[in-house]
Structures are given as C-alpha cells and as structure tokens.
Subunit: 134 residues, 3 copies
C-alpha cells in the first residue's frame, strides 16, 4: 500500500510536535516548583498547560480534515497545509511560552490552515455527492 | 475515490458542531467578565467549558466507532446515526447552557447513539473474524 | 472489506477501556462527596480524573500510530502492540487509583508501546518514500 504516505508522514510529525508540547509541562513544573496534580499557581505553568491542551482540542479537527482533504481532493496540497499547521503550532507554542499576549499570530495561522483543510474537504465532498462524480 | 463520502461529510459536520461549542467559551468569558486562563468562577462559564470538554472526551469514541460501523457494516446507517449524534449534541449544549440539570436527555441520546455505533461495529468485526466472511 | 479487522477490534477495545476510565470519575465523586463541576478537593477524585485525561491526551497519538503501523507495516504486530497498550493502561489506572506514586510502571509500558508504533510507522513510511517501494 503506497497511498497517502505523505499524509501519514505529516500526521505522525504533527503528533510528535504535540508530544513535544506535553513534555514541556513537567519541565515547567520543575521550573515553577509546582507538583502534579496542581494545574495552576504560576503563569508559566498555566501557559504551558494551555499550549498542550489547546493543541489537543484542535487535533481531532486538524487530523480528520487533513485526511478528508487528502483522500477526497489532493494528497500533496493536504500534506503541504499540514506542514504549515505544524510550523504555526510550534511558533504558537514558543510565542505563548514567552508571553500570553504574543500567542495570536501562530494561533491564527493554524486556525486558517485548519479551516482551509476542513472547508476544502467539505466543499469537495458535497460537490462529489451532488454531481455523483468520482 | 467515491467511497464513504457520507461518513466523511457527517464527520466534518460533527467537528464543525464541536468547533461551534469551542467558540461559545470566549463568548461566555465576555458575558461573565472572566479572562483566560481562569477556568472557573462563574456557573455559566463552567457549564460552557464542560459542554466543550465533554464533547472532546467523546469525540475519539464517536469518530472511530462511526468509521468502523461505516466500513465494516453499513455506510448509510452509520451516517444516519451520526446525524442523530450531532443533533443530540446540539440539544445537549443548548440545554446545558440554560441549566445544568437539563443536560440529561441530550447526553443520553448521544451516549446511546455512540453505543449502537461502537457495539454494532464491534459485533460485526468479531462476527467477521469468527466466520472468516468478507 | 476484510482488511484491518484486527486493528479495528483493538481500536474499539482501547476506546472501551478509555470509556471505563471515564465511568470511574462519577463513582469517585460519590465516594468523595464532591459534585460536578468541581474538579478538585479530594486526592482520589483528582487521581481518577488524571487517569481519564492522561489517557485522552495519549489517544490521538496511540490510535493514529496504531493504524499507520498496521497499514504501512504489519497488521498483526500492530494489533499485538495495541493489546499490550490496553493492558498497560488498565494496570496504570488501577495502580494510580491506589496511590499516585505507583503509576510509573504502567505509564512507562504504554509510552514505550506507543513509541514503537509511532517510530516503527514513521521509519517504514520514510523508507517507503525514500526507496519508492510499495
């Protein structure tokens, strides 16, 4: 099976990026001296948790939209948009770690990328169902 | 590729419903005057966050069960159950936003729908493995 | 469609395990006498919530890696590793419910299993893209 290898590669790289974010939480705990299961008490810890959880919140939308776009429209466009999403998420994380008010641009780029994947896939699927085309 | 377009369509509509729930959180923040990253302090904000996160908690079960049912049993039954799930989730959200004690019926319908998808797919897969049928 | 039935079976069993964890939260609430939406106030409740949410955090990585390994490498190895993951997660849950300091071994086994699935799939996909093999 040779199909969709680029989509698979981008999915796994996105999940590695997400995993890297989760590893920042215990690091922030050590820096702040706040032990689990406390989830608050220091702005750096709270920002680090928000980066991790905001990405978790968006993962189902991103991953499903990525695959639907790849399967029903274009593998390579989906993979390219997936790379943009990963880079925007890394930029969002690093900006948000530095200061809460700097999180906007990275967040916006990943949101727009996800929207293009989702509405692109949705439009193509509806078009396919309406016209009966393959 | 013309396969599973209805399942894909329902998946993306479910994710749009979930995205709509996430957008209600900043709206509730403005109404209550409680800024991020605070996650509590007002019942309306807490209910809005619970709607979003309860749906996130159920998304992996729903999405995987939906696709397994569609692939191993029936595309159209899966898609129809998926539409019921989306409507139940919207009803759950609107009821829960209004009052915590009204969240029961919508939650129950989405839970039963998910259970039918999950155990339907599970039964069909075990049956297929046991009988070796296609 | 007879393909990937073992992967599908393991995915649904993993989601049932995860669902069982979610049902432990209201049970812990009754035991501790702490009502929703409060998410803290008793160590048993906090540990029960952490088991549920830690598994949710790992589900996207596990499920995607499981399927990528099954599709691009070996269905049966993926399914066997998936069973190890489920058993490790149950062991992790029961240990963590008993005492926070006993959660290590179960967590480690599921982490190593997920890493084998993720890097196994990643390696095979990159190898396939590099050599152009099927």
């Amino acid at each position: 099976m040779i199909e969709h290898r680029w989509t698979a590669l981008v999915s796994l790289l996105a999940l590695l990026t997400y995993f890297w974010m989760s590893t920042q939480v215990p690091r922030a705990r050590i820096k702040c001296g706040i032990h689990a299961p406390a989830m608050s008490g220091d702005p750096l810890l709270e920002r680090t948790i928000r980066v991790h959880y905001n990405t978790l919140e968006w993962l189902p939308i991103f991953l499903v939209s990525l695959w639907m776009f790849a399967i029903y429209w274009s593998e390579l466009v989906a993979a390219a948009l997936g790379v943009v999403w990963i880079l925007a998420r890394i930029f969002y994380a690093l900006s948000y770690y530095a200061a809460a008010e700097r999180r906007g641009p990275g967040f916006l780029i990943q949101a727009v990328t996800t929207a293009v994947l989702l509405f692109g896939a949705l439009g193509r699927i509806v078009y396919g169902l309406a016209t009966g085309s393959a």
